[in-house]
Amino acid sequence: MAKPTLGVFGLTGCAGDQLVILNCEDELLELTELVDIKDFLMASSGNDTSCQLDVALVDGAVLSQRDEDMLKRIRERSRLLVALGTCAVWGGVASLDRNQDRTRLLEDVYGEMGKKYDSLPARALHEVVNVDLSITGCPIEKDQLISAVASLLQGDPPLYPKYPVCTECRMREYNCLLIERGEICCGPLTVAGCQARCPGLNVPCVGCRGPADDANVESAMNMFGEKGIPREEIAAKLRTFAPAWGVNV
């Protein structure tokens, strides 16, 4: 049987999720024995840029007409499209500006020239095309990527936790930074999968993985309220990586 074909693409972003693929140093060469990587511009020249793909992995968000055209083209040629990383899944840091005037922002950074750029407000991939699987994280976790590839090779979607970082943090018995230090920790609302890396380092969660389906938003907001942390401040913090959290302010 022919090996499944794979493409790896980057829209606008920091390329961090593509870098996580290259960071699978122990698995990379073995992976290429199982799948045929046809198109991966960041890592290879001589790509086949028109062939049909079984799986496309796409990182970054849609921030220009060029990104949008490229994404639609990838969708057309791929059986499964996987959104890789918080930018692709939620919009990411660039979506911080959704409520701000983009023309003014462009002028702030680029001066008069800013008006002429091909530049759109950040959108997640699912706002433009149909997405088959989302692997969140800023960047994605290596083990979640590898389990996704392994599952897809078997024809199954991978299973990821829907509970929040807070649950992972308690399982590891880390000190609670919110209760013990009164710090704004986004762990109660952010989706798990990072093994509560930041609280484990005494650093509050910044919500880089985006919202958890199973988070109890109201109870978390009450907990923040008891610590005297205003709702607006939590909302501003949460918006850093994803625009939609189900938190009303």
């Binding site: 606008t12 920091c14 290879s44 020249s45 001589g46 990104d67 660039a94 950074v109 020239m113 380092l201």
Partner: protein, 435 residues
């Protein structure tokens, strides 16, 4: 007869960029290093945020340089608030930068550049015929990531680095495991030297070049410490204080390009490993004394292809230096210390460090509550853009007799030798619309 060469989408570089050359007979009418990465406007988005949020936001400018962006940001903030980190924090940061440098250089040299010299499209293709070389590169790349994980908490976008210090210090067990890996890497580094020394020569566009790099203040040759920029111009070294970085970033509009170009005294300049070696080689210790010679690296070199060799030399140096640092940390023992207390105040500060691909500037001002008022970020690729075009122009002039395919390959190799990071560069370089 007019002729044009166009690379619509550069492969094996980070981000979206291209090259366009227009020629009329043998004379070159225009050369452009095109950048069409989307604009994320992170400097504008970070404005108004509390200083504790800023490093995590600006880290996302670039994954491969995420340590450099986070810590340049922290350096700028500490300078604005008058915070002095402890000597232990400074040493750990120095080590963290070496981890980033080892990872990035292994990726660039083995996965992006070496395949060019040996005529392969990628490291995966290279691995089929030269498995040892590919595995060597990947092993060292992993080592760089391990250092970043142990010190920075994560290989991409470090989470453990804070204004004033670290969230948590590495354990002795982690350092001992790292020491073992570094011993293995020190053995591996001999193979790196042999491989790079055996590459066929590549010289397509040598010319008199100006170099700029941060001058380290402590820990020898390195990437983190210091607040003076040294510029090597016409055989002399000129010092520019970090806070006056604008004298190297006086962007000038050029007729053939919309890109803003950085110049120093009217001259484009090069930043990166070759620039660092040119400016700071007196700080290298003995561990790499013979490597320069084995690589045939004669400094100063106006051949940008030598940047690949300079990166390989830094890779070898960083391995030895990191081993010394880890041994010292284990011998002295880490002192448990919380981050230095920070008292925010209105003011401004500049943090300059060396990202793997060259000098990086973050310059901020804050209001009295410690919220970011203004931010100016200048990345290595933005500093390099004018110099890249100068070297491309020279290559086209020198190799005008080549057919399109041969000339295109040379132009791509030159851009790649600069190790551009195009996601980074959009924060300063004015972009052109995509073709």
């Amino acid at each position: 007869m007019t002729r044009s060469i166009k690379v619509n989408h550069l492969a094996r570089v980070e981000g979206h960029g291209g090259v366009t050359v227009e020629m009329d007979g043998r004379s070159v009418s225009s050369v452009r290093f095109d950048i069409f990465e989307g604009a994320r406007l992170l400097e504008a988005l970070a404005r108004g945020r509390h200083y504790t949020d800023v490093p995590q936001i600006v880290s996302r400018i670039c994954a491969i340089c995420s340590v450099s962006h986070s810590i340049s940001s922290i350096k700028a903030t500490e300078s604005a608030f008058g915070v002095t980190p402890t000597p232990q924090t400074e040493l750990l940061r120095d080590l963290l930068y070496r981890g980033e440098d080892i990872e990035s250089h292994s990726l660039h040299v083995f996965c992006l550049a070496v395949p060019d010299y040996l005529n392969y499209p990628s490291v995966v293709a290279l691995a089929a015929d030269h498995p040892d070389a590919a595995r060597l590169g990947l092993r060292l790349k992993k080592l760089g990531n391990t250092i970043q994980e142990v010190i920075g908490g994560r290989a991409v976008h470090p989470v453990n680095v804070l204004v004033g210090g670290f969230g948590k210090l590495p354990t002795a067990d982690q350092l001992m495991a790292l020491r073992d890996e570094l011993h293995q890497a020190a053995e591996d580094s001999k193979s790196v030297v042999d491989l790079i020394a055996s590459l066929p020569p590549a010289d397509y566009c040598s010319k008199d070049t100006v170099f700029a790099a941060l001058r380290p203040k402590q820990f020898g040759y390195g990437y983190y410490s210091g607040d003076q920029i040294h510029v090597r111009l016409n055989g002399k070294t000129e010092a520019v204080p970090a806070a006056e970085y604008r004298s190297l970033a006086n962007e000038r509009a050029v007729p053939h390009s919309h890109a803003k170009h950085s110049q120093y005294k009217g001259r484009p300049f090069m930043v990166g490993a070759l620039a660092r070696l040119t400016v700071n080689s007196d700080l290298l210790n003995g561990s790499v004394a013979d490597v320069k010679q084995k690589f045939g690296l004669n400094l100063p070199s106006g051949n940008p292809m030598d940047n690949n060799k300079a990166q390989a030399l830094e890779l070898v140096y960083d391995i030895h230096r990191s081993l010394e640092t880890v041994e010292k940390l284990l011998a002295d023992g880490l002192r448990e210390e919380a981050p230095v207390p920070v008292r925010p105040k209105a003011g401004s500060g500049t943090g300059v460090t060396e990202a793997p691909r060259g000098m990086l500037v973050h310059s901020y001002s804050f209001d009295g509550q410690g919220r970011l008022a203004t931010a100016d970020v200048i990345t290595p690729t933005a500093f390099n853009a004018a110099s890249v075009e100068e070297h491309l122009r020279r290559a086209v002039e020198q190799n005008a007799g080549d057919d399109d395919a041969a000339l295109t390959k040379k132009l791509e190799m030159i851009v790649r030798a600069y190790d551009p990071c195009i996601s980074c560069s959009v924060h300063l370089v004015r972009r052109r619309n995509a073709p």
